[in-house]
Symmetry: C2
Subunit: 702 residues, 2 copies
């Protein structure tokens, strides 16, 4: 049997397990009527967001598909692969979010039985998301490979040149990038716009409490958690996951080693192994009735560590069974063991990045407590301290990525660098589960409060929610680290493909992306600037979109009699408010999105810059983007948790001056950690993906 079918089988098992999990989840108790009603409102709101988003998306995707169909060889096939990529990502996001919104009420009902039951429900719904993402990505790529890939050099049965298969797969990856752009950047703007907007008009202007049902923006706010943290995060990691596999395969084919011991197939196999190990890992997640955050965290960690351990073992077994012949890659003599170690380097780096980020953002450690303490001398000092903590927290993730890449390169050349990302992402099925768990638990807490459940239930949902905050922070770190590694792999593939294409086309120039060449250096500067520009635009977009929510809420209060007064039976139109802010969010993400597509292509085409400068741009964007994304995510996480730490009664507790300062810090942190920071993942991957896709076009105008 061709190796690719093993990957397909693993993907199918992933889907099957997800379906099995969903069936189990749907049988669970949905709680009392109040709980069910609130949950349904959130579900409806999330659907409203998706419908609106899909309208924009469809237009965007059709246009891009036509452009690709015209410009990129093999014509038509790349466009089709692009469409498949978008559909797989959309399906994963849709199902994951749907299950998430159906599980929040079940989590509430679950904790009424036991803490473990609640944790299992929320975590299972996260696992559905995690498995849908990895399975659909792997199945999508595998199916494309089976149809058009062929498995021998030359021309395959479908009449496609073997070397063209990489272009087709990159088309799939670019599809994933497009969805990620909408889901992560648009969703990120949406979630904070709804949050900030409904707070401004509700709490500040009208003086009604947060989450008050009279506020037409309140469901939009609840929807935001699902939109940003489930669908957005999922699409982001779908892109990383597909990108890492594509980059590794492209490097293998480009280096002419694809058919030595099936090196082009290895990323598929490792991904397949990862899916099975992730499923195994989920069985290790369980907890007693102890409410301590450390115990809950240990429960989730056990699952991730177990899956990582299994991947290490079974990846070794797979490589052994594949019997990979020693090859020479980037002047290095590479054996199976070297490749296995490269995978392990990525795996370990991923786990350690999570640990380091937890250290900087969790309120049980010094850094975040120091940020909280800085509130004693005011908002200004708190913000400075949080910002410097975020900057300081870049050191360990950067060193981990540097170490993983250098080890992998030393062992297995550029191929090693690319497959390191596959290693890091191999356990995505379960790491994403721990992450998508967060918003479900968060919603469960909100629902329990709104439905007026007894305090002992609230205590339990609070504990689950608090755990979700920690996993959200580490999840962000993992997303950034894997985005950087994936983008590095894609950029390596870009460089290699340019050289190969130049050879094929008989272009007689050297291509080295040397920093001795000022054009490359200027590319680096432009890349660094792109990161700032993109961040500035997404940050401003939150403000603008928030004003959209404010206006819609004001309109409803004005036009619906009795609404603001809380008259019995008068309900706001939550749907238009969701629709409105979705519209504003998607509109204001257009400019940054277009810039992320147009600038790299322009730089690659114009005479004074060209592909060499574009290579510089990509690396400059990865360098600056990586450290800035970590800074923003961790500063934001630290401010958030500093506020929570004060609310626990430290430094005067709720209502104290320290608390007021911390609330300000949290407001600054919101767009940092949930909009601009994560959007940079998309920026760096999207730009590398599109550059890789346009290689033939760049070379043709050289």
């Amino acid at each position: 049997m061709d190796l690719i079918y093993y990957a397909l089988i693993a993907g199918a098992i992933g889907i099957a397990f997800a379906v099995y999990t969903v069936i189990g989840l749907m049988k669970k108790d949905r709680g009392n009527q109040d709980v069910r009603e609130i949950s349904e409102l959130i579900e409806k709101g999330a659907l409203a967001f998706l419908v609106r988003e899909y309208k924009y998306l469809a237009a965007f995707v059709v246009i891009v598909a036509i452009v690709l169909g015209v410009l990129i060889e093999p014509r038509g096939l790349v466009a089709v692969a692009y469409l498949i990529g978008t559909m797989c990502s959309v399906a994963a996001g849709f199902i994951g979010m749907k299950i998430g919104t159906k599980s929040n009420c079940r989590t509430v009902a679950g904790v009424q039985k036991s803490l473990n039951e609640g944790l299992r429900v929320a975590f299972s719904s996260g696992a559905v998301m995690g498995l849908m993402v990895v399975s659909l990505a792997l199945i999508g790529l595998s199916v494309i490979y089976v149809i058009w890939g062929g498995y021998n050099e030359g021309v395959n049965d479908a009449g496609v040149k073997t070397s063209d298969i990489t272009s087709i797969l990159v088309g799939f990856g670019f599809g994933a990038s497009s969805i990620a752009l909408f889901a992560r950047v648009g969703g990120g703007i949406y979630t904070k716009a709804a949050d900030v907007g409904s707070d401004l008009v509700g709490k500040v202007e009208a003086g009604i409490p947060e989450d008050d049902p009279r506020n037409p923006g309140v469901i939009a706010d609840n929807v935001g958690d699902n939109v940003g943290d489930i669908a957005g995060m999922g699409a982001d990691l779908f892109e990383s996951y597909a990108g890492a596999i594509i980059a590794t395969m492209t490097v293998a084919i480009g280096a002419g080693i694809a058919f030595d011991g099936d090196l082009a197939m290895l990323p598929f196999i490792i991904a397949g192994v990862g899916i099975l190990c992730s499923i195994a890992g989920t069985f290790f997640v369980r907890v007693g009735e102890q409410l301590k955050i450390e115990a809950l965290l240990a429960a989730l960690r056990r699952g991730v560590y177990a899956a990582s351990f299994f991947v290490a073992v079974f990846a070794a077994l797979a490589i052994y069974l594949m019997d990979i012949d020693p090859v020479t890659i980037s002047d290095k003599y590479v054996e199976g063991l070297d490749i296995w170690l490269s995978i392990i380097a990525g795996l370990i780096a991923g786990v350690l990045i999570g640990v380091s980020i937890e250290y900087y953002t969790a309120d049980i450690y010094k850094p975040t407590q120091r940020v909280a303490e800085a509130s004693e001398t005011g908002t200004g000092t708190l913000i400075i301290k949080g910002f410097s903590t975020g900057m300081m927290s870049t050191v360990i993730p950067v060193l981990l990525v540097v170490a993983a890449v250098l080890i992998a390169y030393e062992l297995a050349g550029l191929y090693g660098v690319a497959i390191t990302a596959v290693g890091m992402l191999s356990t995505l099925g379960i790491t994403l589960a721990t992450d998508a768990y967060g918003p479900v638990a968060d919603n469960a807490g909100g629902i329990a409060e709104q439905a007026g459940l007894p305090p002992e239930i609230r205590e339990k949902t609070d504990a689950l929610d608090s755990l979700g905050n920690t996993t959200a922070a580490t999840g962000k770190g993992f997303a950034i680290g894997s985005a950087a590694l994936t983008a590095l792999g894609l950029t390596a593939a870009f460089g290699q493909n340019i050289i190969n294409e130049m050879e094929d086309e008989g272009v007689n120039e050297t291509f080295s992306m040397s920093l001795m060449d000022p054009q490359v250096v200027m590319g680096v500067l432009i890349g660094a600037m792109m990161v700032c520009l993109f961040s500035a635009l997404t940050m401003d977009a939150v403000g603008k979109a928030a004003m959209g929510v404010v206006n819609e809420v004001r309109r409803q209060w004005r036009e619906i009699p009795g609404l603001l007064e809380g008259k019995e039976g008068v309900k706001p139109d939550y749907n238009t408010c969701v629709d409105m802010s979705t519209k504003a969010a998607l509109r204001s993400m257009m400019l940054p999105g277009i810039l992320a597509v147009v600038i790299p292509i322009t730089v690659g085409l114009v005479p004074f810059l060209g592909p060499e400068a574009l290579g510089g741009l990509l690396i400059g964007a990865i360098g600056t983007g990586f450290v800035l994304a970590v800074t923003m995510a961790n500063a934001g996480g630290s401010w958030d948790n500093a506020k929570k730490w004060i609310e626990q009664g430290n430094l005067g507790g709720k209502g104290s001056d320290s608390h007021k300062a911390a609330v300000n810090g949290d407001t600054v942190g919101d767009p940092f950690k949930d909009t601009s920071g994560p959007s940079l993942n998309i920026l760096i991957k999207l730009m590398s993906m599109i550059s890789l896709l346009f290689v033939p076009v760049f070379v043709s105008v050289m």
Copy 2:
């Protein structure tokens, strides 16, 4: 006559004009007794800072000189040049600051006659600083060249190989870097520590007004302006100025074109032309009695634009008279005109960077007004808006630098890139004057207030002070832009010297700093991370050093009876407070300073990284450092001016909620714009300078 003597003569004229200006200044009226006394206190405090700083400096410089004497060839000479470099920079800073502190009272007395008289006094004292910096830098470099340089290929009269002259000059540059590290980073920490510390203990803790003479920290605060904005800025630009000349000469010698039409001498000549044109420009700075900021700004601008125009004309004349033969540089056929255009590209980019930064930070334009308006929804939104404005403001400066470098490279290869920085910095004599003018006017305003002068005088000093805030922001932009260009030139020289040295030593490897090489890419990531680490450390240092001030103030209030109660004749010991915070500032700058020296050397030496990765590190640091420095400087400037705009009566004026939010923004901005942001200039130049200096060491262990 050898061309170098023209440079010496221009430097001597600069010194002579500075001395002439000082004599004129010293004859001016020093105001009434109150004014004189306050001014003397500030002068004494600044001296206390310098004495303490020099103690640390001396130890540092001696150790470094010994290390250089042992490690870097030609042994001894590099160490001596290093010492000369430190001494020239110290002398320029000392004299500039001394004159600045002697001119604040004279400015007060000046405005009592006329606004123009006040402006002329403050500007003249700035001109002394500007001219001392450029003249001492040029004279220092020229004298070294005359003694050890020789002017023909081979071995000169002093027995020094011609190629060794670059190492010696780089030694001088590294001396300038060392002083810049202390003056800009240490001074930057000091000034904000004194500011924040005395505010915290005085305004917040004891509830006494700002600038109250009972607060022992108040003079330290006033001293800070001189320390940070005169001495710190001066040393920063001394380093850029010397670095740009050295980089151009090094590139010329390294490319083997030094003796074609005296290209190695050209940067000296252009610098000399610039000094004379700057002197000429100062005569264009005068103003009527109109208090409008636009009129005052126009007065200063007239001087800078006039000087720029003269430089353009006389640089063309100089190049024409030097009769430069066409040469081939970086595969480009280069004539005199090409080189002249490269100089002009830098000159124009420098002026336009200033204009763009003024647009983003001055309160007469939209961006800063929008930041102020964001205060209406609270501190959080104000800070977000300021931050996004800072990020947005990176676009134009980056594009200007990119355009200048690409034009220069297209016209005159790497030599063109290096001399662009010389062009940008050629008018430094007068641009630095407009910048050093700021703190003098600021002090004058403070003195006028403390001495209780009548409102019409206050109005005039306020107008001059307000102008100073704008020039401070544009000065920072100019400092960042020129630092980036200088660092790029030094890095180009670094790459070229590595290749030459490898050839000389018979090392048979390629050196291309290619982004296809993961080591170089990892260098870029490390460089980006260094920027964050350095910023985090300097930001935290402000907090720590401020606590030193707080403790010293508390001690004096406890131990000196009657001080806090304001008993007649009881005065605080301002000196120990200055001394104390100086100590804390200098101590906490040690770690970032050491990292900036040790990490590049380590990266260049360790086997898995090496000089290629070091090249990546330098470029990564320049890319991220440039955009982050601009972001921090402009966000800080924008918050500061948003506060001032509100204080003018907009959005509710002083005491409103908007004002409170803006005060918080200003507090965040303080270390952004005056400590961490400007410190990044030093980081990127220092790292490139030390890398260039250590080239022979790196190659010897290859």
